[in-house]
Symmetry: C2
DNA sequence: ATTGCTTCCGTAGTGAGGTACGGGTTTAAG
DNA sequence: CTTAAACCCGTACCTCACTACGGAAGCAAT
């Protein structure tokens, strides 16, 4: 007797993977997961592959890939496209590094402003506000778009 | 004769500040800028204060403040609320630091994966893909929500 | 058999920060 | 005087990743 191992409903699948039912359905609509055929009049069941797919998606998301990019990664699943996968990884790495250095600039500027505020100053005057009014002295004088 | 210095239309104002006209109008709707009274049947004009306000908003945004937070900062404009402003700055600083360290974890994980891919490996197998399938070994074994 | 939780399915709403559209008025240039 | 820009205004739409809603039907326990 073949025990169909770990057959799950969508609810169980979602809970096991730590996502919401709606999220699974959303991934299906996005084409990131397939919808299993449903036995006539009944309820779809999901197996470990579906669970693995969900894990794949969440792991990729954690690395900063968007759902569109994850769709692309999924087409490289067979392991025969390592170069393409690495390329995507490298692009993401570059963008992560850009974000880090942008945030570090902000960190420096903000830290300086907060320090100045903390160092008690005499009168009715706030260094932080003053800087916001005059333009924050961007540490590297490097103009960045906000978005 | 008083020369009303630098009276601008919304278009000039926007261009000078480097934002779109629609953006200025959007800030007005959000209550971050006031709409000057318009001379009967005519076109509103904006002065240097409006421009300064726009600079304030962009500087604050650059530091990572949301438009809601900027609204709050703007109520502290008189310089008499330095403590509150500093408090907001410190909170933002904390959140910026959290983002940086999160991104640094990602940077480490992604870098490792990309390195492994680059180090030529024999057969049809991709270390990056394998990690996505098995779960990325999060450097600090610290579970993060993706959002 | 009745209650009550799931599932199924489509559609719509959220939040952030805008951007675009369309129709009507001004104003400046030629 | 005519035309082209620029302004006014409200409303709708955009991205991203979900999340919520509502009604019908299935399934599990009492």
């Amino acid at each position: 007797m073949l025990k169909k191992r770990n057959v799950m409903t969508i609810g169980t699948l979602a809970k096991t993977a730590g996502v919401g039912v709606e999220t699974v359905r959303y991934y299906q609509r996005r084409g990131l997961m397939s919808e299993p055929e449903k036995p006539y009049g009944g309820i779809r069941h999901y197996d470990e592959q579906a669970l693995a797919r969900l894990h794949f998606i969440r792991a990729s998301q954690w690395l900063g890939f968007s759902l569109d990019e994850i769709g692309e990664l999924l087409t490289l699943q067979d392991g025969a496209h390592c170069d393409e996968a690495r390329e995507l990884g490298e692009q993401k790495l570059t963008s992560v590094r850009r974000k880090i250095s942008h945030l570090q600039q902000i960190e420096r500027a903000l830290n300086e402003l907060v320090q100045k505020c903390s160092a008690g100053h005499g009168d009715v005057y706030c260094p932080l506000m003053a800087s916001l009014n005059d333009g924050v002295e961007d540490a590297t004088t490097d103009k960045h778009k906000v978005r």
